[in-house]
């Protein structure tokens, strides 16, 4: 049974991406709902089905939860039609999470591409709320164009902070006249701006093609596979490890994942043979396409 939640606010992040700020209708549920950075939930638009997105707000934020989605399929189209004050369903939280406890006292490097910033943002905000417990923090975020950058407001805040290094880049051709960030693809920008690989944990999320080219760069810079965390997404339906859809090898992404280290992923069957990492992070694309 999903809980019902009210859409408190709608934020248009980019032409095709939207963020919902949600509050549970039931105060009791709102109190009890707890999750950890990296977990996901099933959001339903009644009449059109359920879709899986990560929870994009920080677990330290108790008043509301946020989710961001890109309009792709049936459910996301239906969600986009909803207005402020409407009701959606939420089940969750499901899956595992980023082991923040283990990250403590280490340097963190966040690398995100496109909508892949959503799960990373959850971790970033969580980490920033506990800023003292971590060492250097670097954020590298790339999008196709300036208008495709999401969480623009927060990016500004991150940039303003002295205690983190924020590098924002857009693909060549996507920049505007007033753009003051980097221009170039994420792997290239990473090479220029990467911190020391010693004692650093990488949190990586983005489209398969980005991950394909970023991984060799990371390895070249001396980052260890065990310290590269990412979150996988596959087409999911139940979120409970039953429906069999997200199964890769021995793993049900919805239960044993979605957070994996690159070392763990290497051990899975290379189902996605051409791109070793093809499956990684198709945030939001899990909605039931077909349309």
């Amino acid at each position: 049974m999903p809980h019902t939640a009210e859409i408190k606010e709608i934020i248009d992040e980019s032409p095709d991406t939207r963020t919902f700020r949600l509050r549970f209708r039931d105060a009791d549920t709102a109190d009890r709902f707890e999750f950890k950075a990296g977990q996901f939930a099933e959001y339903s638009a009644f009449g059109d089905g359920e879709s899986t997105f990560c929870i994009a707000s920080s677990p330290t934020q108790k008043d509301y939860i946020e989710c961001s989605f890109k309009v792709y399929g049936k459910v996301t189209q239906s969600l986009r039609r909803l207005n402020k004050g409407d009701t959606i369903g939420i089940r969750g939280p499901y899956g595992n999470w980023f082991p923040l406890e283990e990250f403590k006292g280490k340097n963190l490097l966040f690398i995100a591409g496109g909508i892949g910033i959503a799960p990373v943002r959850c971790v970033i905000n969580n980490v920033l709320d506990l800023r003292d417990e971590f060492k250097d923090i670097t954020i590298i975020y790339g999008a196709r164009s300036v208008s495709d950058l999401i969480y623009k407001q927060e990016i500004k805040e991150w940039k303003a902070r002295r205690d983190i290094k924020t590098v924002i880049t857009v693909d060549p051709g996507g920049e505007t006249a007033s753009w003051d960030g980097e221009v170039g693809f994420v792997p290239a920008v990473l090479e220029k701006n990467a911190p020391e690989s010693e004692n650093t944990v990488v949190i990586l999320c983005g489209p398969p093609v980005m991950i394909k080219f970023t991984m060799p760069v990371l390895t070249g810079l001396g980052f260890k596979d065990e310290f590269v965390y990412t979150t996988l997404e596959n087409r999911m339906k139940c979120g409970l490890g039953k429906c069999g859809r997200c199964n890769i090898g021995n793993v049900y992404v919805c239960k044993d994942g979605p957070v994996f280290t690159y070392a763990e992923i290497k051990k899975l069957p290379q189902e996605f043979n051409n791109f070793k990492f093809q499956i990684a992070n198709y945030k939001l694309q899990i909605a039931f396409l077909k349309g």
Partner: protein
């Protein structure tokens, strides 16, 4: 049989065809499809009363078409087909799914097949399509084998059943079909084996908007089976594969046969019989029957 093997071997060895789609024996009363690209393997090819599959279904598959592409050259595809399977191939050619020039049809003089694997071949166990079959010799072929033999006699029970259903009042008919369709488990085996169900994306797979409910409850089953029957009307060549594939034993071919009878009555058209005439639903005639319309 020897001639068939020899012919297939020559085709492959001379590089005329990329692959031969044929049958191989798995046990005494059962064969299964095989796709052969290696001349050495042609010895497995057979043709007999247990070659039930309509291999034309493979012709529309993208992965089979891929087999034909060799060093920038597109080779032909050889297919062993019963005379009734040739009808399906003709229908596919008419609907521009395949090109006659890319297909090498190896056909046979046919005297009928068994209704299913494991049955003795005789009048009682004759496939229902063979009972009324008029084409024991294929209409189109590139190579012809097999000797002419007498088809066993059998009574046309399917026709009798159609007549029986037609004599029922509408509400009984509705209940009859509702209960038959209720057995459907939506495995879509009927769609998969049908050579004419070649759509890349079937209407049931389209969910924005969702026209046919994917759940296999009464209403979803009813809609699916009616729409499938409609999409095949005037196109179905009556190979009966859907009937054989259905795990729930729904008499799908009854409806298909009824619709073929209508095509014959209304438009004197039989699907898959001629390469020259256009398809029935893809064309029109200004003088068509107009009685239906007020």
């Amino acid at each position: 049989m020897k001639e068939l093997i020899k012919h297939a071997r020559e085709l492959l060895e001379n590089g005329e065809v990329a692959a031969v789609i044929g049958y191989r024996q798995v046990s005494a009363k059962r064969t299964k499809p095989v796709i052969i690209t290696d001349p050495e393997e042609t010895s497995a090819l057979v043709f007999n009363e247990y070659c039930l599959n309509n291999l034309a279904v493979y012709l529309t598959k993208a992965r089979i078409k891929l087999l034909c592409k060799k060093n920038d050259k597109v080779l032909k595809l050889a297919i062993t087909a019963k005379p009734c399977d040739v009808h399906s191939i003709v229908a596919l050619i008419q609907e521009n799914q395949i090109d006659r020039d890319t297909i090498h049809i190896i056909s046979f003089n046919c005297h009928g097949v068994a209704k299913d694997f494991g049955f003795d071949f005789n009048g009682d166990n004759l496939a229902s399509k063979c009972i009324t079959c008029e084409t024991h010799k294929p209409l189109y072929y590139d190579a012809l084998f097999g000797e002419v033999k007498e088809t066993p006699q059998a009574s046309d029970t399917a026709l009798a059943r159609i007549k029986e259903i037609e004599s029922m009042p509408h509400n009984e008919r509705f209940e009859f079909f509702k209960s038959e369709f209720d057995k459907c488990i939506k495995c879509y085996a009927c769609r998969a084996v049908c050579p004419l169900c070649y759509c890349q994306r079937c209407i049931t797979d389209k969910t924005i908007p969702c026209w046919i409910e994917t759940s296999s409850h009464q209403r979803g089953n009813f809609a699916w089976n009616v729409i499938r029957a409609f999409h095949l009307s005037g196109r179905c060549t009556g190979c009966g594969e859907c009937d054989r594939a259905c795990p729930a034993d729904i008499p799908l071919s009854l409806i298909n046969r009824k619709m073929s009878m209508e095509a014959k009555n209304l438009f004197s058209f039989v699907s898959g019989r001629s390469l020259e005439t256009p398809t029935l639903v893809g064309s029109y005639n200004e003088k068509d029957n107009n009685e239906l319309f007020m």
